[in-house]
């Protein structure tokens, strides 16, 4: 029975793959010309950044990015909602490797610098808040493995503030622009570049913090909640 | 909003709002609840009386608004509506009084009276519905609001009865809905009209319309307790006596019968139904149910079950009257709708009194009860004689008119059915009457309770006497201007003379 199920699933997957491949070929053949690239090129000058991908992410389709950061915040807080403070002090999770400790002193400042560079580079070449935030988080992971104390990552108001900071600033800009009479998320003329940089900076911090918090969130909580209405 | 539009709504709201207030009152505030109940019942009676007077003078009470694309919610008071509305308004008042006494010191009264009021609101809606859609709306509301009443006692038997009740009636509701939706697809939103809608209709539709007719009658037949879908009715007897009284005399079974009257006359039109040959099979079925119910009643020892089978038989008289083509048959059927209600509610009140006062539930325990409870027993006797058709009581008027209608429609076999059924009625009612008055008390009463001066609780004492008075009066005064008979004639005239 089980084998049959496996075979059927494999056959279905293969069939789907073939159909998909054919569809890709057909779609590539019968592609319709769209004026999107021209529009994009024409509007790039007004977006406040030079790199088109960053322009799409933080200006043309900034709404997507706002929601995307929301998704990250959700994941982050769901993660810490399952964690407990105690686990952070768990010595079993701490490495005491001498070499790691020594390397860390070199790597941490270097990685922080790299993160800053990536953030700055985002406006005119590949790079940006997410890449910088990921490097920041990696730095944090390294520090944590090396046993450096990081009090701010404990579930507490500071952590929550950190989680939500980037999102909140982004949203604040969005709502402020809506209240100022522009459309929601529409940056005031001339301020786009500066605002995008500011948003990206706080986003970097928050993304780093969220990813780190998710790494740290450990599943130890002895507290047990009785289900609704008690035992069944 | 003008008064003519307001009155039908008020008639509905009087019991709907009462239900809401009663649900909101705490369980312990019995006095206030009784007050609300009685006030609402009296108010409703007043409104219905005013509307009846208006309808008699030709005022058109109607209100409608669009509920769904192509479907409107419509209340309209015509003469037929007032017949049913009047019956339920009068009997609701009496039953409320009775129920207050009957449920004294029992739990869950808030729930009981709340659903009781909802039930009456649904009945009023059924009476005043101006089209099939609105009728269906209240018809289903009635199903739902009676369920808690049937299972009120919360015993395993009551729940079982409730389950069967709901299976039968919801099943019937589904068939009815199918019929209504189909008809709507064929002909659109049809308001009830005295002469029906299909005097001249494309013959290509005849086949479908016949099917729709069968669906509608089958769906309504469930509540009317027609054979072979009557099974829920005897079981539902586990409900408290006032519920049985209301179920049998006014609400549930009458809703089914009333629906059939509406469908035959006001949707299809009696002409169409007659020409399509739809009446004849229905007549046979109704006649069979009349005899079947009476025969089954003969063997029941439980008093309420015997009354239940009697109801199955009696309600089919109404349908039999409908199937007799001609004004006389119509009058007979319609007037029985009312007469049967008054007689049957009297019988159930009395049965409830025996159960509450003496603890008697079975026919063979009733020996000599006439001496202990003379007033109740007189009422019971009068109603039983009425059922049998002894002149000049209500039942006689019905049976006489029906017989005349059968002859007019050249369906002589129906007269035979009527005679046979009367004999059977006598066979299952007279022994009870005999036991009440002529046999000595055989054993001590199973569970006797005493209330001061009267033979039973005052709340229980008066309602059967009032209904007894009514059933004598409607028989004696049948030829006068405001009797149910004259009213039914008024309706029939409007149906046959467009």
């Amino acid at each position: 029975m089980r084998r049959l199920l496996v075979l059927v699933s494999l056959a279905a997957c293969t069939a789907l793959t073939i159909a998909l491949a054919l569809a890709v070929l057909v779609a590539a053949e019968s592609a319709v010309v769209s004026e999107l690239p021209q529009q994009l090129a024409a509007s790039l000058g007004r977006s406040g950044v030079e790199h088109p991908t960053t322009a799409v992410l933080l200006n043309f389709r900034s709404y997507d990015t706002l929601l995307e950061i929301g998704v990250l915040v959700i994941a982050g807080m769901s993660g810490i909602s399952l964690a407990s403070t105690r686990s952070l002090e768990d010595p079993a999770l701490r490495s005491s490797d001498v070499l790691l400790y020594a390397l860390q002193r070199w790597f941490v400042p270097l990685m922080l610098l790299l993160a800053a560079y990536l953030l700055w580079a985002g406006s005119h070449r590949p790079g940006g808040a997410f890449q910088a935030g990921a490097v920041l988080a990696a730095t944090g992971v390294l520090m944590r493995l090396g046993g450096l104390p990081m009090a701010f990552i404990r579930p507490g108001v500071l952590l929550r503030l950190g989680l939500v900071l980037g999102f909140a600033v982004f949203l604040l800009v969005a709502i402020a622009s809506a209240l100022a009479g522009e459309a929601f998320l529409a940056y005031p003329p001339g301020m786009a570049g500066g605002l995008i940089l500011a948003i990206e900076t706080v986003l970097t911090l928050s993304i780093g913090m969220i990813l780190l918090a998710l790494f740290v969130a450990a599943p130890v909580s002895a507290e047990h909640e009785p289900e609704e209405g008690g035992g069944s | 909003m003008s008064l003519t539009a307001l009155l039908p709504i008020l008639a509905l709201l009087s019991s709907l709002l009462a239900a809401v207030v009663i649900f909101a009152l705490p369980e312990s505030s019995h006095r206030l609840r009784t007050l609300v109940n009685l006030l609402a019942a009296v108010l409703k009676l007043g409104i219905v009386a005013a509307m009846t007077w208006g309808v008699f003078r030709g005022v058109d009470f109607s209100v409608s608004f669009s509920m769904l694309p192509g479907v409107s919610f419509m209340l309209r008071a015509d003469a037929l509506a007032m017949l049913f509305a009047g019956l339920s308004a009068v009997l609701w008042l009496l039953t409320t009084i009775y129920a207050v006494g009957y449920l004294e010191d029992s739990p869950n009264r808030s729930r009981f009276f709340g659903f009781f009021s909802l039930c009456v609101a649904s009945t009023m809606g059924i009476a005043l519905a101006g089209n099939l859609f609105t009728f269906f709306l209240f018809y289903e509301m009635l199903t739902l609001s009676t369920y808690p009443l049937v299972v009120h006692r919360g015993t395993a038997r009551a729940l079982q009865a409730g389950r069967n009740y709901i299976i039968y009636t919801l099943g019937g509701g589904v068939v009815l809905l199918l019929g209504i939706a189909w008809l709507h697809g064929l002909a659109g939103d049809l308001a009830f009209r005295e002469t029906g809608h299909f005097q001249s209709v494309d013959p290509a539709l005849h086949g479908q319309l016949t099917l729709v007719f069968v669906l509608l009658v089958a769906g309504l037949g469930v509540k009317a307790g027609m054979f072979p879908v009557h099974g829920w009715l005897p079981q539902a007897m586990v409900a408290p006596a006032p519920v049985s009284a209301l179920l049998h005399a006014v609400a549930v079974v009458k809703a089914g019968a009333f629906g059939i009257v509406r469908v035959v006359y006001d949707i299809f039109g009696i002409d169409f139904a007659y020409r399509q040959g739809l009446l004849e099979p229905l007549a046979w079925l109704a006649a069979f149910t009349v005899l079947y119910g009476s025969l089954r009643a003969l063997w029941q020892l439980d008093l309420k079950r015997r009354l239940a089978f009697s109801t199955i038989s009696q309600v089919s008289y109404i349908i039999l009257g409908v199937t007799l083509f001609g004004p006389l048959g119509t009058v007979g059927g319609l007037v029985h709708l009312l007469h049967q209600g008054i007689m049957k509610i009297t019988l159930f009140f009395c049965a409830g009194n025996y159960a509450e006062t003496l603890g008697v539930h079975r026919v063979d325990e009733l020996d000599g009860a006439g001496a202990r409870m003379p007033a109740t027993s007189i009422a019971f006797t009068a109603a039983a004689l009425g059922m049998i058709g002894v002149p000049p009581l209500a039942g006689f008027v019905t049976k006489w008119t029906l017989g005349a209608g059968a002859l007019a429609a050249q369906m002589e076999w129906v007269v035979l059915v009527l005679l046979l059924s009367s004999l059977l009625n006598a066979a299952y009612f007279l022994p009870i009457v005999y036991r009440l008055w002529f046999l000595p008390v055989a054993a001590p009463w199973p569970e006797e309770r005493r209330w001061g001066r009267l033979e039973t609780n005052a709340w229980l004492f008066w309602p059967p006497l009032v209904t007894m008075l009514l059933l004598v009066l409607v028989g004696l005064l049948a030829p006068t201007a405001f009797s149910p008979l004259s009213w039914a004639q008024l309706i029939a005239v409007r149906m046959y003379l467009p």
């Binding site: 998909l20 590539a28 010309v33 799409v56 992410l57 995307e68 994941a75 399952l82 940006g128 | -």
Partner: protein
């Protein structure tokens, strides 16, 4: 056939593998990896197909970036849930113990 189309077809292949893994594997982490594989396949199709049409196109690149972040968020949340689930029950799969009622 342009190299971009090749990317898209490779993405299709990854989708097939990922889907098969997702359906057939019981171990929660493996299923999660299969999901990531599937996600990568979808992103490749998105970029490759669009690129084949009119050269480098920043819109799908931005979409994929957003998609990656969403996928990472989902993956991270899933890992936290899986770790805690494992911690509490010692199980690594959802294979059944009752119908979810405690």
């Amino acid at each position: 056939m342009s190299p971009d189309l090749l990317y898209a077809l490779a993405g299709v292949g990854l989708c097939g593998i990922g889907l098969a893994g997702f359906l057939l594997l019981d171990h929660l982490l493996r299923r999660l990896l299969a999901f990531n594989l599937l996600g990568s396949g979808v992103f490749l199709v998105l970029v490759g197909l669009a690129q084949h049409r009119g050269g480098p196109d920043p819109v799908p690149q931005a979409l994929v970036l957003t998609g990656i972040v969403v996928a990472i968020a989902a993956t991270a949340l899933a890992i936290v849930l899986i770790r805690r689930y494992f911690h509490l029950t010692g199980r690594t799969s959802l294979a059944d113990a009752g119908d979810g009622q405690s």
